[in-house]
């Protein structure tokens, strides 16, 4: 595969859910190794965008090209295997609550690798080390705090060494200090694992910390994108209102 093509490319994607057009002719590319953060208010289609990238939703129109392959036309079985390229972290962690932390992280390894029990144990420890969470392997997800659950979710997402990492609202519902810790962890994982990452959030502080490039989603389209510095100085009133968190402006009209 040519390395100068973008890793992720959304091309003119439309999606209508429950009679409302959530994505409207949306296009964006993510380069290899880049960390893109998509920001935007609640209900503007951030989660929907992420679910399209990993193929959990199919676009009504348009194409989603991942590493040169169009996943919007893939057959389910093919797509299922293709997803091994991805690691995804969900809003509340989405850990399997019928399993221990260890079993959660071992789950994809047991299913998709021929690792021995010893190798699985080593890889799980390695992943827990990467998210700085030793000594929780035998715990149940219900015994963990919100921040810890998020981190176990990260560990599970990286266990198969994915090329692309997706983070759905990684800091929502966490206190500011833990949010910062999580943001730093994402930066660190991005560097050490050398992945392409897409994060969606409405927390600008987190966005500026993680991003190589920030994009703002509004009414199903990308209305502004650029490096964190460029983004901060954007003249776009929508972007300005969102960064400053004002109640008055074009967003609330």
């Amino acid at each position: 595969m040519a390395t100068n093509t973008p890793m992720i490319s959304l091309q003119h994607v439309d999606k209508t859910l429950g009679g409302r057009k959530v994505l409207d002719d949306m296009s964006i590319d993510v380069e290899r190794g880049e960390a893109l953060v998509i920001v935007g208010g609640s209900g503007v289609g951030k989660s929907v965008t992420l679910k399209h990238i990993i193929g959990l939703m199919k676009p009504d129109r348009g194409h989603i090209i991942i590493d040169g392959q169009d996943i919007s036309t893939m057959r389910p079985v093919e797509l299922n295997n293709f997803r091994r390229k991805f690691g995804m972290s969900f809003q509340e962690g989405a850990l399997f609550d019928s399993m221990s932390v260890f079993e959660n992280i071992a789950f994809p390894l047991r299913r998709h690798t021929k690792y021995t029990e010893q190798q699985i144990r080593e890889r799980v420890d390695e992943c827990l080390d990467l998210v700085h969470l030793p000594d929780v392997a035998s715990k149940r997800p219900s015994e963990l705090s919100g921040g810890m659950r998020r981190r176990v979710g990260f560990a599970r997402a990286i266990s198969l060494k994915p090329e692309i990492l997706l983070f759905d609202e990684p800091t929502t519902g966490l206190d500011p200090v833990i949010s910062d810790v999580i943001a730093e962890l994402i930066v660190e994982m991005d560097r050490t694992l050398n992945t392409t990452t897409v994060t969606i959030t409405h927390d600008m502080k987190v966005a500026f910390k993680i991003a190589d490039r920030v994009a703002m989603l509004y009414k199903g389209q990308i209305v502004e994108e650029g490096t964190p510095e460029m983004f901060q100085q954007s003249k776009n009133p929508i972007v300005q209102q969102f960064i400053e968190g004002r109640a008055e402006g074009p967003l609330t009209e």
């Binding site: 079985v77 997803r83 969900f90 850990l95 994809p108 599970r156």
Partner: protein, 255 residues
């Protein structure tokens, strides 16, 4: 017009649901034969559907056999046909009561909990997480449950057959004072192997219906905790109705 519209909507909804159900049945069958096979998960579900249901099946079928004997004895006594109590109890249990009652009890016990379990996984994004980990929920969740239903329901039904006939014997002999040897002879006299098979084949279908309905209802859950509650109720109601409905047609068609 309004009324027609409403009736139309009900039917469209019904056809949609039926379509979903059969679509999922197709996917479940397809995934059954694709590796990796979840041996451990299959066994766990068989324990859940089969072994854990034994107490409920025990009580239900035994008491049904007992009350059957009581009632038929009452009725047959009036026409001096007490001798046939054993035959009637055995035929009714094997062909009809044991398969259907076992299926309805297991629907309440297991079908509902499957809907609640998978529904909770839906609203907490665990189903999305499964897919993100390159694991099809139909393969990982549906297949082991449906297999467990198809395998375990006939086994539970055999147990129910024995307990029902045994319960009838207890009432007939100990309570009504029938001659034990005559009662036994009457029990077996008119039975064919076909009576056993027909009950078992039906129960395998019921096992498929109740597990798949629980899974499908859970899978299409939406709307948080309330949605999970709705899915659970819907799973029990629709599985019970489909079971009673197919029971008639299977009985008519096959035997």
């Amino acid at each position: 017009m309004n009324l027609l519209e409403r009736i139309g909507r009900v039917f469209i909804h019904l056809f949609e649901e039926t379509g979903l159900w059969f679509g999922m049945l197709g996917r479940t069958i397809a995934w059954t034969f694709r590796p990796p096979f979840e041996g451990g998960e299959w066994l766990r579900q068989m324990v859940r559907v089969g072994v854990d249901s034994i107490p409920v099946v025990f009580l239900t079928t035994m008491f049904t056999g007992m009350v059957m004997a009581l009632q038929t004895y009452n009725g047959f006594h009036r026409v001096h046909a007490e001798n046939f109590v054993g035959s009637v109890v055995a035929l009714a249990m094997l062909r009809e009561l044991s398969p259907v009652l076992v299926a309805l009890m297991v629907t309440g016990r297991v079908g509902s909990s499957m809907a609640a379990e998978i529904g909770t996984m839906r609203v907490t994004e665990q189903l999305d997480a499964l897919q993100a980990l390159a694991t099809d929920p139909v393969q990982y969740l549906f297949v082991p449950r449906v297999i467990a239903g198809i395998v375990m329901l006939p086994l539970l039904t055999i147990l129910g057959d024995a307990l029902g006939v045994g319960g009838g014997y207890l009432v007939g002999v100990k309570l009504m004072g029938a001659n034990p040897i005559v009662y036994q002879q009457n029990t077996y006299q008119f039975l064919h192997m076909n009576d056993v098979w027909s009950g078992l084949i039906k129960s395998a279908f019921f096992g498929l219906i109740l597990t798949l309905t629980g899974c499908v209802r859970g899978y299409y859950t939406s709307g948080g905790a309330e949605g999970v509650g709705r899915a659970t109720t819907a799973a029990v109601v629709s599985a019970s109705l489909i079971i009673l409905f197919t029971d008639f047609f299977l009985t008519k068609l096959l035997f």
